[in-house]
């Protein structure tokens, strides 16, 4: 249990998200384009982090179904930023593995300047598994 708490703390620190701000309206899940692909949906993600139930999240494929489109971040009325939590959990997985998949050569030669940095990073992690 102590370890779980540690996970939660780290995730909150990495993401800078406060899941207690969530009022459970479900707008994130109502807007998520990958909803049907996911085992755990964005609103559940926020709730599970809040309750410290993080291991199932780390083991779930849902983690890599998130497209990091930021629709949930953009539309959340409480400014909770679920996508940042997803990314933080992904990072936790990597830290647990002790691997870092980022290779400089993999960065595409041409990157649209509007591309969020986070999207780039997550793409690297996702496809270099």
């Amino acid at each position: 249990m102590a370890e779980h708490k540690n996970y939660k703390e780290q995730i909150l620190r990495i993401s800078g998200v406060n899941p207690l701000k969530c009022m459970r309206c479900g707008k994130c899940s109502g807007t998520c384009p990958s909803y049907d692909e996911m085992e755990y949906h964005p609103h559940q993600f926020v709730y599970m982090v809040e309750t410290g139930d993080i291991e199932p999240l780390m083991e779930s494929k849902s983690l890599y179904k998130c497209l990091t489109c930021f629709a949930c971040v953009d539309r959340c009325p409480r400014n909770v930023e679920p996508a940042k939590l997803v990314e933080a959990v992904r990072l936790m997985v990597i830290r647990q593995q002790g691997q870092n998949h980022m290779k400089p050569d993999d960065i595409p030669a041409q990157v649209d300047e509007d591309t969020p940095q986070q999207l780039l990073m997550s793409a690297l992690r996702k496809y270099s598994k």
Partner: protein, 664 residues
């Protein structure tokens, strides 16, 4: 030298349990000025008060110290006692030995020691007290109501019923406000017009009420009982007293393409218009932004058809000044703009509408004559999605929306959903909610009827995205209880937009020096005990300008504000708080420091002639405090560099004496 009497209260065991009251009375006996000292079980009781009165007579007391509960509790009681005994009520000081001593300390010696010190401080203060007489000011027996919605109308009617003249200032051409736009009202489903328009007529015909429609407040001066208000009556290019309201001009005007704001732009009106059939005053108004005659000088159709000869293209804005004793703010609300909520496609599709627009769509006097038809193609919608909390309950750091709950949306959405299912049973109605909040008389029963009797689909979840596709609206939403994402092909989407105070409220609050919260709602003098008064004396609050409210609450608050106004106007003279600032003219150097910090504008400067020792006279600029305006905060006394400014009842000397007594 004062002759002070000290009275130590036991308050049963409340004080006597932790404070040795006999010892306190004994210790205070020898303080300077004290000629009498006693203790009693309940000083606030009739017997206790009689004891004080007797002691005043017997010992010729000039000052009283009561060691008892908090002055917030019984200061007024003991001041009245003093007055009854022939003393100036402000010669009484309270040493708070209950709330701030016996109740927070456990040991007798400690409590007793502190009680003695608090008593000494009070004695030291009374030694320097001077009799204070509250200033009086006359009251102008006329009230001003700003805003002519249901709140303003109700307040005005109640004040007028009590026999006082009232003026309503309304910025639009007619009174009626938002309620005039509504179709039915929850939870009784009364027709809004049927219950509002008689009140509008009453207000229009009441001889105590004057309605200044199409007018705005320009400037507010003065203070409680004596406000001076500049009102601007905008030119409507129609002579109000001559126009009969026949409406011929509004039918003949060739400029037909003016968005009709009464129907929220869903249809058009002419450049000369009467907002709606039951308008009060029923007078036409020419819209200078669209009138061809006013813009180019070529038209004049309305003047030709007007049999009464009421059209006057040369009319100018008119500014006049009126005097009032009390002012009621009833500026109301507006739905927030949907511009920032791109995900609901409000600006992309005409079939995504706000709830207020939905009211017009179902209103018999609305753009569709009461038939529920889609604004885009005029077809009957078969699937309607209602979205709750659009812009309400947002985080303070979110880019859009309001932090508060708009309060009325749950109920009006239940009403809309129910009415749709009642009139058009072939229509599927979905309501997406976060919580359904129905605290109110017969409110929850109403919502349950929508679900149980009318079969409205209530879905716990939120709509994430609306996409117009062909003649459908693709609605993507979550169903949290089923843990599903729903995709609904809707014909009409109705957004329960949050409500916000009218934009005119902020500049008005500045003019009234009434305070506002961060959302631009007026703040009340006390959130629980003085909910209809503004902290600024003489300014009262009515309706949604103070916070989101439904109609019954608005009307109750409107009547409550009226009662407060009547209470004020009934008085011939207003007795102020005598603990106000006063400036010593001989010490004042005219620097204006006090004037700058005064939140009430109570300090003015005047040139005054002073006699000099060499028998010449000299003009000097000195500060003057208007005692009726000063609320006695004392900010100026600290700002004054020469020490000329002092606060009666809390004078520098008195507080210093208290400090000395405590630090002895």
């Amino acid at each position: 030298m004062q002759r002070i009497g000290v009275f130590v209260c036991w308050c049963g065991t409340n004080i006597a349990g932790t404070v040795d009251v006999k010892k306190v009375a004994e210790a205070l006996k020898d303080e300077p000025g004290v000629v009498f000292s006693a203790d009693y079980q309940y000083m606030c009781s009739q017997a206790g008060q009689d004891m004080i009165k007797d002691a005043v007579k017997e010992h010729k007391l000039t000052g009283i110290v009561v060691c008892s509960c908090s002055p917030r509790m019984h200061e007024t009681t003991f001041r009245k006692t003093a007055a009854a005994a022939g003393l100036n009520p402000y010669m009484v000081e309270i040493a708070n030995i209950r709330e701030q001593c016996s109740w927070v300390h456990k040991e007798m010696p400690i409590g007793t020691e502190k009680a003695i010190i608090l008593g000494k401080a009070a004695v030291a203060k009374v030694n320097l007290n001077t009799p204070l007489i509250a200033g009086q000011s006359p009251v102008t027996k006329r009230a001003l109501v700003i805003g002519g919605g249901i709140a303003g109308i109700q307040t005005a009617l109640d004040i007028a019923d009590a026999g006082f003249p009232v003026d309503i200032v309304e910025k639009l051409p007619t009174i009626g406000g938002k309620m005039a736009q509504l179709d039915k009202t929850f939870p009784t489903l009364d027709c809004a017009a049927c219950i509002l328009t008689p009140k509008m007529v009453d207000a229009g015909q009441n001889e105590n009420i004057r309605i200044f429609s199409y007018s705005e407040i320009e400037e507010v001066g003065g203070f409680v009982g004596n406000f001076t208000v500049k009102i601007k009556k905008k030119a409507r290019y129609v002579k109000e007293d001559i126009c009969t309201g026949c409406g011929l001009c509004t039918e003949k005007c060739p400029q037909k393409k003016v968005p009709n704001e009464f129907n929220l732009g869903m249809d058009n009106r002419r450049a000369v218009y009467i907002p709606f059939a039951q308008a009060v005053p029923k007078v036409a108004t020419i819209d200078p932004n669209y009138c061809t005659m006013l813009k180019t000088g070529k038209c004049g159709v309305c003047a030709k058809v007007c049999t009464a000869g009421a059209i006057d293209y040369t009319q100018k804005d008119e500014v006049f000044t009126e005097k009032y004793g009390a002012i009621v703010a009833a500026t109301g609300y507006n739905p927030i703009s949907m511009d920032k909520f791109d995900e609901f496609a409000y600006n992309q599709s005409r079939d995504v509408i706000t709830s207020l627009e939905f009211e017009r769509l179902t209103n018999a006097a609305g753009p569709t004559a009461g038939k529920l038809l889609r604004p885009s193609d005029g077809k009957h919608p078969h699937t309607i999605v209602f979205v709750q909390c659009v812009g309400s309950r947002c985080s303070h750091d979110a880019e859009k929306g309001k932090e508060y709950c708009s309060k009325i949306c749950c109920m009006y959405t239940a009403k809309h959903a129910m009415l749709v299912r009642d009139k058009y049973p072939d229509t599927e109605v979905y309501v997406f909610y976060i919580d359904v909040r129905t605290p109110g008389k017969a409110f929850d029963e109403f919502y349950r009827r929508a679900v149980e009797e009318y079969g409205v689909h209530y879905v716990k979840g939120m709509v994430g995205k609306v996409t117009p596709e062909g003649d459908k609206l693709k609605v993507l939403a979550s169903d949290l209880l089923a843990d599903k994402q729903l995709k609904i092909d809707a014909d009409l989407v109705v957004l329960a937009a949050a409500i916000e105070p009218d934009k005119s409220a902020r500049p008005l609050a500045t003019m009234l020096t009434a305070s506002m919260d961060t959302n631009d709602f007026f703040t009340e003098a006390h959130p629980k005990l003085r909910p209809v008064e503004s902290p600024t004396a003489g300014v009262f609050l009515s309706g949604t300008c103070q916070g989101p409210k439904d109609i019954p609450e608005t009307v109750s608050q409107a009547s409550a504000a009226a009662a407060k106004v009547i209470g004020l106007l009934c008085k011939d003279k207003l007795t102020g708080n005598p603990c106000v600032a006063s400036s010593n003219e001989l010490m004042c150097n005219g620097c204006s420091s006090c004037e700058k910090v005064c939140p009430y504008g109570a300090i003015t400067y005047m040139d005054k002639e002073f006699r000099m020792p060499d028998r010449t006279t000299k003009l000097r600029r000195v500060a003057m405090v208007n005692e009726a305006v000063c609320q006695g905060c004392g900010c100026c006394t600290v700002a004054c560099p020469s020490g000329a400014m002092d606060l009666k009842g809390f004078a520098n000397e008195q507080i210093m004496a208290e400090v000395d007594a405590i630090c002895k």
